[in-house]
Amino acid sequence: MGLIKDTFHNLQELRNSASLANKVFIQRDYSEGTTCKFQTKFPSELENRIERTLFEDTVKTLNNFYAEAEKIGGHSYLEGCLACVTAYLIFLCMETRYEKVLKKIAKYIQEQNEKIYAPRGLLITDPIERGMRVIEISIYEDRGSSGSSSGSSSVSGSTAR
């Protein structure tokens, strides 16, 4: 809960001083089949906003998380067989491996947003919110003043008209 409050606070600061300018969508990479993987190509809109390496690291880590979730091996077979034998009732008390990894991903994205993306005026949306189709990165523009004061933003906004 504390983590959420901190994120909220940081994002609040971001919002007070910035306005949503654009959204970039990182599409899926299907070169290895239907497994969930996102393209690591650096979008041009983020050119001046964030370092290429940071962005690629984030996407690669996310890809690794998804690969872990969808990995077929002993553990997933065991889970599948156990579930079949118990007529899938076991999922009422136990959450699937995929769900566990999704929680880890949500935490990771929150962390990344707080530490890396929000200070640069960017915000990553968890792909699960978009049906695992895209990673949505919202780009915010600082309005007028470089500081994050809410008073100045309304003045600059009205003069921008």
Binding site: L20, N22, Y30, G33, L123
Partner: protein, 464 residues
């Protein structure tokens, strides 16, 4: 299907009227709605969104009825005889099979098959922008296919006009349910649902266990009648003593052929990692002359294919049926589903929050300055309106935080509420058409585009 991606704003939707104020007040008092209530596909939901079924599910009760009736007759009429003459395990095995069949059937019917949620307005716009790079003013529908390489094989991805996205590989749009389903196999009317990635293993276990059940019942009934007729009577007398057995025989006889055939077919599909859809279309059959076009998804090993399809990890449902809609999105269904024409959007389709539009409109309704709005009067009222609007800002944040389910996600995903300042001004613009024409700013587009938590809502009016 409309060619035009964007619809005109309906000025009536944005105009202020006492009636809309009343409706708004009513809706504010209502409980927050869950996403399944505004789901655009043709599905039915039960247990507050926990169970999902296709709208056309007429045959599911028939399937269930047949299974229950046949098994019931079996337990009532054949089992007593067979228990005394053979073994007590017969009803036990029958019972286990029956439970398994019904459980698999219900699981198949009520599980989300892997429905893909429709693309949000921004995504759709982004895709369009990527293809329409010439920047021409005349609108062209996006091209229908995109080719990609999967395991060194060319696969065509089709653009789905209903869901406004390029379908991932192996995804198909079910016309009966009006949804794109991942790893779409087929729409099964007997089961009352599509069969796709998430419920294929339940479907397979259903047909396998059903084949065992029907064969088992068939065998037991034959044994029963044979035993009866052996005890000194002839067959007709034996049948007269147990008429229910004939009913069971008939039902089982006719279902066995189809069920066994289907099981065999699906076993073949599982072993080669194919879907019914692909098999019927012949997507991977080598009909292209010299080039070998094998299935790029197959692991070329029967056991691996079976394990992956049946025992692979269970992906989560992507449509978030039980999630809550953002509180003010209820009204936006009518108003915000209309989007401005492209000429009014000089910049890219920078999105906007439904919530801030809603809040903007809300405050319009509540502020008394509203009726004094006129082109010349707006500059005067702007500072007052801003004052009015800045106060409830904190209220908005508490609104969104009140919805605990979305708190974690909203914090990351939805930057909407404090954007109201800029967007309210835009709403002021958009309420007054004269003003709109006078100053088409980039921010103008923001007042009407819908996005965010309600991708479903945007496209529902476009369905025909």
């Amino acid at each position: 299907m409309k060619n035009c991606e964007y619809q005109q704003i309906d000025p009536r939707a944005l105009s202020v009227s006492p009636q809309s104020a009343q409706n708004h007040a009513d809706k504010k008092l209502q409980r927050p709605r869950r996403k399944w209530q505004v789901f655009p596909g043709k599905n039915r939901f039960f247990c507050d969104g926990r169970l999902i079924l296709a709208r056309q599910n007429g045959i599911l009760p028939l399937t269930l009825g047949l299974i229950i009736v046949t098994s019931g007759l079996f337990f009532a009429f054949d089992c007593p005889f067979l228990v005394t003459h053979l073994t007590v395990f017969i009803p036990v095995i029958g019972g286990v099979l029956f439970m398994f069949v019904v459980a698999s059937l219900l699981r198949t019917s009520f599980t989300d098959p892997g429905i893909l949620p429709r693309a949000t307005a921004d995504e759709a716009a982004d895709i369009e922008r990527q293809i329409d790079t010439s920047g021409s003013s005349t609108y062209r529908p996006p091209p229908r296919t995109k080719e990609i390489l999967i395991n060194q094989q060319v696969v065509k991805l089709k653009y789905c006009f209903t869901c406004k996205m390029f379908r991932p590989p192996r995804t198909s749009h079910c016309s009966l349910c009006d949804n794109c389903v991942e790893r779409f196999d087929h729409h099964c009317p007997w089961v009352g649902n599509c069969v796709g990635k998430r419920n294929y293993r339940y479907f397979y276990s259903f047909i396998i266990s059903l084949s065992f059940l029907t064969s088992f019942i068939f065998g037991c009934v034959i044994t029963h009648i044979t035993l009866r007729s052996q005890a000194g009577k002839n067959i007709v007398q034996a049948i007269q003593e147990s008429p229910a057995s004939v009913v069971e025989l008939v039902i089982c006889f006719f279902s066995i052929w189809s069920i066994l055939g289907l099981s065999g077919f699906h076993t073949y599909l599982v072993a080669s990692n194919l879907t019914t859809n692909e098999d019927i279309k012949g997507s991977w059959s080598s009909k292209r002359g010299a080039e070998e076009s094998g299935n790029p998804y197959s692991y070329n090993n029967i056991i691996t294919n079976c394990c992956v399809t049946l025992c692979g990890p269970m992906p989560p449902s992507l449509i978030d049926r039980r999630g809550f809609l953002p509180p003010d999105e209820v009204i936006s269904v009518a108003a915000a589903s209309e989007v401005e024409l492209p000429p009014f959007i000089p910049k890219s389709e920078a999105n906007m929050c439904t919530q801030s539009t809603k809040d903007a409109l809300e405050r319009m309704l509540h502020s008394t300055d509203l009726h004094g709005l006129c082109p010349s009067g707006t500059p005067k009222t702007t500072p007052m309106v801003l004052e009015v609007l800045s106060a409830p800002e904190t209220k908005e944040l508490s609104l969104s935080s009140g919805c605990s389910h979305q708190l974690a996600r909203q914090a990351v995903v939805d930057p909407c509420p404090p954007f109201s300042k800029n967007n309210r001004r835009d709403s002021l613009h958009s309420i007054n058409p004269a003003f709109r024409l006078a100053s088409p700013s980039p921010t103008l587009s923001r007042s009407v585009l819908v996005l965010g938590e309600g991708p479903d809502i945007v496209f529902s009016p476009q369905q025909h």
